[in-house]
Amino acid sequence: MDYSNLRRQAASMKKSLFDQGYLDEQFCQVEDLQDEASPNFAEEVVTLFFKDSAKLISNVEQALEKYPKDFNRWDAYMQQLKGSCSSIGASRMKSECMSFRDYCGQGNVEGCMRSFQKVKREHGALRQKLEAYFQLLRQAGQLVLLELPPGPGCKN
């Protein structure tokens, strides 16, 4: 196993995610919170994000169906999703959320529907890419696979 090669690939994958605007600086902030005590922190947060955002997307979807033209409600649900994207640096997804909210502000149903589809697409794309990225990191041996029992030197 050529670990350094895999690490290089992971780094290059991450760089392209930034270059293509999928991620922004906040993602680095999240990764920087990792240390020996919490070596998988970034992946854990991202996993929680995708669980959470899937639920929030479903909330928006239901609201679009059940409450036609209820722009305030639609906007409120999308605001939650946007906040979540912001927290992990999901930049493109966040932009689409903002687009949706703009359309809500304009009372533009068509625009809302269109941009909601884009939000879902970006969500799916980001999930795929981040799964690939973390898998690569795992293969590169940078993630601790075994859970070590807390020792006396444990920070927490």
């Binding site: 919170l33 854990e44 947060v45 906040g83 992990i88």
Partner: protein, 202 residues
């Protein structure tokens, strides 16, 4: 950041309905040497703090059962049911909790919202996503509040002393430690930058 812990680390209660955000704020706080309890709602926060909002308590443990003193509360603004603002009001209405510093977090940069919170007694407003650098703003609020509490106790002692016409001297140790903590407060004030309305990227 080297912290020489000569006393118990400060304990922060973090309130946020979003699970990833809760995980993040917990990590930020722990990395900054705080002990942390997280809850996902304002009503659970009040229950943890020992105030029963309504109905039966759904929180399994309370702060006093764990011998925890909460030194600061940091809460999200937008939460279903009880918002961060509602929680702030409840805390300020409570004689036992009102001296605990409260920080509000929000992903929306709305000046009227920020001002409303500060007017209601919030000590600080963080724009989300919260960063590690924001954590350094927390300790000054905790120390300020402690000093204020100590000073108030001092005042009460002095009043009761003069009322009872007692010959007891005021405790010199207490007085000097309050003076030194007031000095520290002045230094801390020097460090605190007026960043509450700092514009941030969205």
């Amino acid at each position: 950041m080297a912290v020489v812990a000569t006393e118990r680390p400060f304990h922060v209660l973090a309130v946020d309905d979003s699970l990833p955000d809760r995980k993040l704020i917990e990590r930020l706080l722990k990395t900054s040497s705080f002990q942390v309890t997280t809850v996902d709602s304002g009503s659970k926060a009040l229950q943890f703090l020992g105030i029963h909002d309504d109905d039966a308590s759904t929180v399994s443990v309370h702060a006093h059962q764990l011998d925890i003193t909460v030194n600061l509360i940091i809460t999200d603004y937008c939460m279903p049911g009880m918002t961060g603002y509602d929680l702030l009001k409840k805390i300020k209405e409570s004689s036992s909790l009102r001296d605990i510093p409260v920080v509000i977090m929000s992903s929306e940069n709305i000046p009227s919202r920020i001002n409303r919170c500060l007017e209601e007694g919030a000590d600080e407003f963080f724009l989300k996503p919260v960063r590690l650098s924001d954590m350094s703003k927390l300790k000054p609020h905790i120390l300020k509040s402690r000093c204020r509490e100590h000073y108030q106790q001092e005042q009460q002692h002095q009043q009761s002393d003069s009322n009872s016409n007692s010959n007891d001297c005021s405790n010199p140790t207490n007085k000097s430690s309050c003076d030194s903590s007031r000095k520290r407060k002045a230094e801390d004030n020097g460090e605190i930058l007026p960043q509450k309305n700092r514009p941030r990227h969205s």
